[in-house]
């Protein structure tokens, strides 16, 4: 079986598209699955996702049944001969969500330099704990770009200013790249809506937005994670980021250079404003990191 890096990379992208709850159409247990999955029997289900698409994926519950509602989990599938770690979406039974009466209103914030994996981690967390958390969309004045994955709401500069003046934007920042200057922010209404559904809003931020949120809602209302790329030295970390930004293939070299400069500032910011972070975590192994995040967030450890 050809498991070259580009094939694995494309497969990983497709796996992320499976990250939706669904219903079991059928399932089977393979007594002798392909060798790469080890000798244990493997249960595979045909699952119809909420968006109507059907997918094949392992099921991890003990006694599935046709018609059962399931939810996705990302997990390590296997490591290829070349050492590539291959992740897969598996489906588990959906829990009965108990809504607690005294729901404390707080935000979950992820801050880190471009390329550290904020979006991926947030997406994985949002999917893995979709009954408990929801992503807050980012309002931006920049135009849509290939590679955007539903995380942005696009608006005009005039509309952005109007919302800001009327207090409907709780945190904002200007980000300049070369000759471009764009504004990004969070709308109060989006955060309130998530709270009213008894879920925890998750934001992917950078330093100014984080400070804005802490200022608006109070520092205690933000459970804040700083995300670091793997590596012991600043040089090693920046090198990791450069590699990730290039392998995303979404931006020009000039943009990547700008992002790297900003990243250097972000890494320095972690040291300067330790007070803004509750936990500093290293993004080395995605599934392990998501598991550890769930342990650190009140109410998510059982999700």
């Amino acid at each position: 079986m050809n498991n070259s890096a580009p094939i694995v990379q494309r497969a990983q992208k497709r796996e992320r598209d499976k990250f939706l709850p669904g219903t079991v159409v059928s399932f089977t247990t393979l007594s002798h699955p392909p060798a790469r999955f080890g000798p244990r029997p493997r249960m595979v289900g045909l699952v119809e996702l909420q968006n109507g698409r059907r997918v094949l994926a392992p099921l991890v519950m003990d006694a599935p049944y046709i018609g059962q509602t399931v939810r996705p989990r990302m997990r390590l599938s296997h490591v290829t001969h070349e050492g590539l770690r291959v992740y897969e979406v598996a489906y588990d039974e959906a829990p009965q969500v108990a809504v607690t009466e005294a729901f404390s209103r707080y935000l979950l914030a992820f801050t880190g330099p471009s390329g550290v994996g904020k979006s991926t981690i947030t997406k994985m967390l949002a999917h893995a704990c979709s009954d408990y958390v929801a992503k807050v969309p980012i309002l931006t004045t920049r135009a849509p770009k290939p590679g955007d994955d539903g995380e942005y709401l696009y608006t005009t500069s005039a509309e952005f200013d109007r919302l800001k003046k009327t207090g409907k934007i709780v945190a904002m920042t200007d980000i300049s790249f070369s000759s471009e200057d764009w504004r990004y922010g969070y709308r109060a209404a989006d955060i309130e809506e998530i709270w009213s559904a008894s879920k925890i809003p998750v934001v992917v931020t950078e330093m100014e937005l984080l400070q804005g949120l802490a200022h608006h809602y109070g520092r205690r209302a933000v459970l804040s994670f700083g995300l670091l790329p793997p590596g012991k030295s600043k040089r090693a970390r920046l090198s990791q980021l450069l590699h990730r930004l290039r392998s995303r293939g979404r931006e020009s070299e000039a943009h990547i250079r700008d992002r790297l400069k900003n990243a250097e500032r972000d890494l320095a910011f972690f040291g300067e404003r330790k007070d803004l972070f509750d936990h500093m975590v290293v993004n080395e192994d995605l599934s392990a990191l998501v598991a550890s995040l769930k342990e650190k967030v009140p109410g998510l450890s059982g999700a």
Binding site: T29, H32, L46
Partner: protein
């Protein structure tokens, strides 16, 4: 059909595990037998169509058409076709296109597979090439797995029981006892099928066709005649992945090819007295009966219950089907056509039908053979 095409010769190797025979040996054996039975000279062959799926993976051999051509003294032009387990029917269909157009007058069609040289895991992975490598294979699914999903869903929707399903393989094994070319020439009780090891829940070992070596060849001609005329040759396709289908308990390609074939042959289902159907897994045989229109939805098993009780509504998989005769992937579709001709001759029946599909019914080929002596 645009021209009258006759099946003038056929040849088979015994299907099974042939450690001492290579891909070339198997192909040569079937070709020589086909030419001998046709009474033609090798030089009468204008064109060779080769059906093969796995030679690159199992035998390090691509360029199968040239290999086949090198077996004939005049090295006629040759080409290879591939549609996984449906390669055989596709090869016959391709031959028909050449014959009908007049580009060839006598075509040798040969299907061959040499599967037992590879390990079980390697062959299982190679066969998954018949499914969608992006949508199906990454989940770890194998072909028994795909049909396990289908069987589980079918049982859920129609209430088919384990005991009922076990009848299918039992019937095929009984038929194979009289087939000298079959891989397994012994009877198998439904109880033995139910007690065999689980492969992919709810399918058990004896629900699955085996890994086989073998070759099948036939000679089709518009200028040389015989009592067996091809009355229809049709293929149809469906999505490669089962994830892209609204249902997994029916194969639309079979339904489409069947309607086209009946129309082309200008007959109805009642005219069919011999059927070779693609029982790669026992559940497929049940579903095929429904898709071919011989049973209502959810009632395909009834035909096998009748066959088991000795009330045969028609000849079905008289050579033992894929389960008991063996399933050297690309040879199967051609073997089916040969077995239909045998059933028509023995049973003095007029029309017979060979139904062959690839993957989980992503390609389906149907051929109708007419015994003109009846």
């Amino acid at each position: 059909m645009q021209q009258d095409i006759f099946l003038v010769g056929s040849g088979l190797t015994r299907f099974g595990e042939w450690w001492d025979k290579s891909l070339r040996d198997l192909m040569r054996e079937a070709i020589e037998a086909a030419l001998e039975s046709s009474g033609l000279q090798a030089q009468d062959v204008d064109l060779i169509i080769v059906a093969n799926m796995l030679a690159e993976v199992t035998n390090n051999q691509a360029h199968m058409a040239a290999l086949a051509s090198s077996l004939l003294p005049h090295h006629p032009p040759a080409l290879r076709v591939e549609a996984a387990c449906g390669s055989g029917a596709l090869a016959v269909n391709t031959a028909c296109a050449f014959l009908e157009s007049g580009r060839a007058k006598t075509v040798l069609v040969v299907g061959v597979e040499k599967m037992t040289d590879a390990s079980a895991d390697a062959i299982s992975q190679a066969l998954m090439g018949a499914a969608d490598s992006e949508l199906d294979a990454p989940s770890g699914l194998t072909f028994p797995g795909i049909f396990g999903l289908i069987a589980k869903r079918y049982m859920y929707e129609f209430g088919l029981t384990r005991e009922q399903l076990s009848i299918v393989s039992s019937v095929h094994h009984k038929h194979a006892t009289e087939n000298a070319f079959a891989q397994f020439r012994y009877e198998l009780s439904p109880e033995a099928v139910s007690a065999s090891p689980l492969v992919s829940d709810p399918l058990r070992l004896f629900d699955c066709s085996p890994i086989s070596d073998g070759a099948a060849a036939c000679v089709l001609s518009t200028v040389h005649r015989s009592g067996m005329r091809l009355a229809a040759s049709q293929i149809a396709s469906d999505t490669l992945s089962i994830t892209q289908r609204p249902t997994i308990v029916s194969f639309p390609a079979t339904r489409a090819a069947m309607e086209l074939a009946l129309c082309e042959a200008d007959i109805t289902r009642k005219d069919i007295h011999a059927l070779e159907t693609h029982d790669c897994f026992s559940i497929a045989a049940v579903i095929n009966m429904e898709d071919l229109g011989f049973a209502k939805e959810g009632e395909g098993i009834r035909i096998y219950e009748d066959l088991h009780a000795g009330h045969a509504p028609m000849f079905v998989n008289m050579g033992g089907g894929l389960k008991a005769c063996g399933h050297p992937v690309a040879a199967t579709g051609i073997k089916q056509l040969i077995d239909v001709s045998k059933s028509l001759t023995r049973g003095r029946a007029r029309y017979g039908l060979a139904h062959n599909f690839g993957g989980a019914g992503a390609t389906c080929g149907i051929h109708v053979l007419e015994n003109t002596h009846v």
